[in-house]
């Protein structure tokens, strides 16, 4: 079959730095790099900068005060203004609505391949790449989790921030991690009743690191704010408990909350029913590493049970010419992401990193590690799964099929479970079921392997510029 060679396109001049992701890390990196004299392309799938944390209310809603749900809106607003100034000055190209499916190249010669919202394509040449791709929510399935009304905790928070919509009127908040308190406080403040905040870990491990906590007064203040807000609404977290089942036919009507042992195994006979019309569940975040692992960047097991990138103090990955900042290097929150973005911009520009940034990063990372370890899922959580509980929602694979692959067919890792059951082969490419499948396979967390970071139209691949055969 003869294939018509694509038209050679004139290659645009490379920018000094391509930043993938315009969350706190990527935004801070882009404006800092531009102010240090670099030319920057900032690509992000979203239509506005801010990433997962800074969310703009839909303009149509006319909400006047997005700050109400953000602790440090000013830090963001300032950088967004800088971004606009650099864009006007021609130092930054902000490519919103550009989802990057692959980064190819080496050394100082990179191409960032993106698909655009209007079914278009753009390939951006760059001398260096910064991956600031953030994180997505960690989901641990439970019977009934596919019922309407069960939403991600981070998703609920995002909905509140951008649309000011409530997932229900009586919302149980469950899972593990510091985000739960924030979500519960936001929900309560927005007028929902929160019958229970169910936290699977104890907060005990925090107490073992009083120094780290004291060195992070802003974090403590944030916790106090949430705690205070919750007390006002008479919500107290239930520690070492989990939602082990959601009930309902067309929509969630109640949940069963049970006590957990140290390994997060539900203690028999401790279940009780809590009526509700929505559940916001979250178990923290998982770094989004598809682009990084496709490039061969080395990874490490993080304290929270996820896989994160191995980074130097200057935030280089193991691949020369590729840097990373923010959650990709380990989940740690928006202030850390901002700090890392600025550090990376300095090292990419060949400048010394201001010591204050280095100190702030060390402090925030230490705090993140303590939190991560405290909320790391215990191995016993799979005890609340039933054979028929869907683990992979895209491909409708129940826990029983995963267990069969592991026990009878010789699967010892998540990849083989996927090959044998299709779990993780659907639209989300395992972002939803990955941690659960790995746990059922008795496998440690494994790095994302997705050579395509997002779906691409076949025609777009076909129209890539042809390379000579050598």
């Amino acid at each position: 079959m003869t294939t018509s060679p694509s038209e050679p396109r004139p290659a645009p001049a490379p920018v000094d730095l391509a930043v993938v992701g315009a969350g706190p890390a990527g935004l801070a990196a882009a404006v800092t790099a531009a102010s240090l004299g670099l030319t920057v392309a900032l690509l992000d799938a979203g239509s506005r900068p801010g990433g997962q944390y800074y969310r703009h209310p839909e303009p149509a809603l006319g909400a006047a005060r997005p700050k109400a749900l953000h602790h440090d809106w000013a830090a963001f607003a300032g950088r967004e203004a800088e971004l606009r100034a650099h864009a006007r000055g021609g130092r930054v190209r902000h490519l919103a609505g550009h989802q990057v499916w692959s980064v190819t190249g080496s050394g100082t010669d990179w191409t960032v391949h993106a698909r655009t919202d209007d079914a278009g394509a753009e390939s951006v040449p760059a001398r260096a790449v910064l991956l600031a791709t953030g994180a997505y929510e960690r989901h641990l399935p439970f019977p009934g989790w596919t019922l309407p009304g069960v939403v991600g905790a981070g998703g609920a928070q995002a909905m509140l921030k951008s649309g000011l919509v409530l997932p229900g009127r009586r919302v149980v908040v469950a899972g593990s991690g510091p985000l739960l308190l924030a979500v519960a406080a936001s929900l309560a403040a927005a007028g929902a009743r929160v019958p229970a905040v169910v936290e699977a870990s104890g907060y005990v491990p925090y107490a073992r690191h009083p120094g780290t906590l004291l060195r992070n007064p802003a974090k403590l203040a944030e916790g106090a704010v949430h705690g205070g807000a919750l007390l006002r609404h008479r919500v107290r977290p239930l520690l070492r408990h989990a939602v082990v089942e959601a009930h309902g036919t067309d929509r969630v009507e109640a949940v069963t909350v049970a006590r957990l042992d140290r390994d997060w195994r539900p203690v028999p006979g401790t279940g009780r029913r809590v009526p509700c019309d929505a559940v916001a569940v979250g178990h923290g975040l998982v770094p989004e590493l598809s682009l990084a692992t496709a490039l061969g960047c080395a990874t490490r097991a993080a304290a929270d049970g996820t896989v994160a990138l191995v980074l130097t103090p200057g935030l280089r990955t193991s691949v020369p010419g590729v840097w990373a900042a923010g959650e990709a290097g380990g989940v740690g929150g928006a202030p850390l992401a901002l700090t890392e973005g600025e550090i990376a911009a300095h090292t990419i520009a060949g400048r010394a990193v201001p010591p204050a940034l280095v100190r702030r990063r060390a402090r925030l990372r230490a705090f993140a590690d303590v939190m991560g370890a405290a909320h790391r899922p215990g191995p016993g959580w799979t005890g609340w799964l039933r054979e028929e509980t869907a683990v992979c929602r895209c491909e409708e694979v129940p826990a029983g099929r995963v267990r069969e692959a592991v026990e009878d067919l010789g699967a010892t890792d998540a990849r083989t479970v996927k090959l044998l059951t299709r779990a993780g082969m659907g639209w989300c490419q395992g972002r939803m079921c990955g941690p659960a499948v790995a746990a059922l396979a008795g496998d440690g967390p494994s790095a994302d392997r997705r050579p395509l970071a997002c779906p691409v139209r076949l025609g777009q691949l076909a129209e890539l510029p042809a390379l000579p055969v050598d």
Binding site: L295, G410, T412, L458, G459
Partner: protein
């Protein structure tokens, strides 16, 4: 299951080839242990597509092996559970123009003499077989024997059916040999010594390293292949479809068939498009050029595919030997050592016939076909000189 002290044969490799060998060895009455450093199907088998093709093989020893496998896969499909997804869907090879069609006709003529069922489909009947094919093709050939399995399932179910003792997550670090006779005595892993009078190297792309553990060379090399997987679609591709171009290489006199990506639907819905062939060692980086070619070839065959989403791409490393035939059977240099590796882009298809040959060699019974072309001690010739980016199915 109580563990036997010492199996009759230890198989290194739980890919589809090792699994098929375990199955046929066990069926011949041998006790079998299978060792793999990873999970079942964790090597190239997990990256394969599961085409069981006779259509792409010219008359010769590999086609004979493929035809025997075709029969054995059909038999197996009656025994193995439905998850194996055996589907005798047939292949359709299309020719873009008259010269290609004439070449395809001559190619099919040679195959027919070897036992292949190939029916010429005139241009105006192609749509009966594949309604979404691009217009303007010159014609094609329908190959009834082409079929499909799900490779990882096939390996796992063959292993389960073999009843072999499985040692997963254990790398073979040494092949034990009798100091006096040089004969193999078994293998060593970090956890155990498995003693057996026969050891089978079914380590696929890593077969050369395993052979080296026994002190013999076997020049198995990796050849990278990429596959594209689309979003789930209603059944728009019914057969295994690919286009054939004839390279008239009169000087070498070889009827080399250059073919484009195989496009096929799967029971789960996604369309698979694969695969490229490049000799780039174990390079794991994404080649956008490989993806471009696959996508362009698929869209040229099925224009409707241009607007579907590609959900993922993956790659694997085919095990190849310089003369493009697998090494199957006893190694004359080391008593008790057997090989079954180097199946390149056809190991899933060729696995059952390989297993049957290995079982015959292990038990000293008559082989189901002449094993001579595959003997491991043969002269493999020089490492071949195909350009590194050449592209076929």
């Amino acid at each position: 299951m109580p563990k036997r002290h010492s199996p009759d044969v230890v198989i290194i490799g739980a890919g589809v080839v090792g699994a098929a060998c375990a199955y046929y060895a066990a069926r011949s009455g041998l006790t079998v242990a299978v060792v793999d450093r990873g999970p079942v199907a964790g090597g190239t088998t997990g990256a394969g597509e599961g085409n069981l093709l006779v259509s792409d093989k010219e008359a010769g020893p590999e086609l004979d092996l493929a035809l025997l496998s075709t029969r054995l896969w059909r038999e197996l499909s009656a025994t193995l559970p439905p998850e194996t997804e055996y589907e005798p869907k047939g292949g359709l090879v299309v020719a873009p123009d008259e010269p290609a069609l004439r070449a395809l006709r001559a190619f099919a003529e040679g195959q027919r003499a070897a036992g292949v069922t190939a029916t010429e489909i005139p241009a105006d009947r192609l749509a009966d077989l594949e309604p979404h094919l691009a217009p303007g093709l010159a014609g094609g050939f329908h190959y009834l024997q082409d079929a499909q399995v799900q490779p990882a399932q096939a390996a796992a179910r063959l292993l389960a059916a073999s009843g072999a003792a499985l040692h997963l997550g254990e790398e073979v670090t040494a092949i034990l040999r009798d100091p006096a006779s040089g004969a193999v005595r078994g293998v060593r892993t970090a956890r155990r010594e498995l003693l057996a009078p026969a050891v089978l190297n079914a380590a696929g792309t890593w077969g050369g390293e395993v052979a080296r553990l026994a002190g013999v060379p076997l020049p198995v090399l990796p050849r990278r292949g990429f596959v594209l997987v689309t979003e789930p679609l209603p059944r728009i591709v019914r057969h295994k479809v690919y286009a054939a171009d004839y390279i008239a290489d009169v000087a070498s006199g070889s009827a080399a068939l250059q073919s484009s990506a195989v496009v096929e639907g799967t029971p789960g819905g996604p369309v698979l498009i694969g695969a490229t062939r490049e000799r780039v060692g174990f390079d794991r980086s994404l080649s956008t050029e490989a993806l471009r070619r696959l996508a362009a070839q698929a869209a040229a065959l099925f224009p409707v595919l241009a607007d579907v989403q590609v959900l993922r791409a993956y790659h694997g490393f085919r095990p190849y030997l310089p003369d493009h035939l697998p090494a199957i059977g006893a190694d004359p240099r080391v008593p008790g050592l057997h090989h079954a590796c180097g199946h390149e882009g056809a190991g899933i298809g060729l696995a059952p016939a390989t297993g049957a040959l290995v079982a015959a060699a292990l038990t000293g019974t008559a082989p189901p076909l002449d094993p001579a072309p595959f003997r491991p001690g043969r002269d493999f010739g020089p490492a071949d000189t195909v350009p590194p980016q050449e592209q076929q199915s």
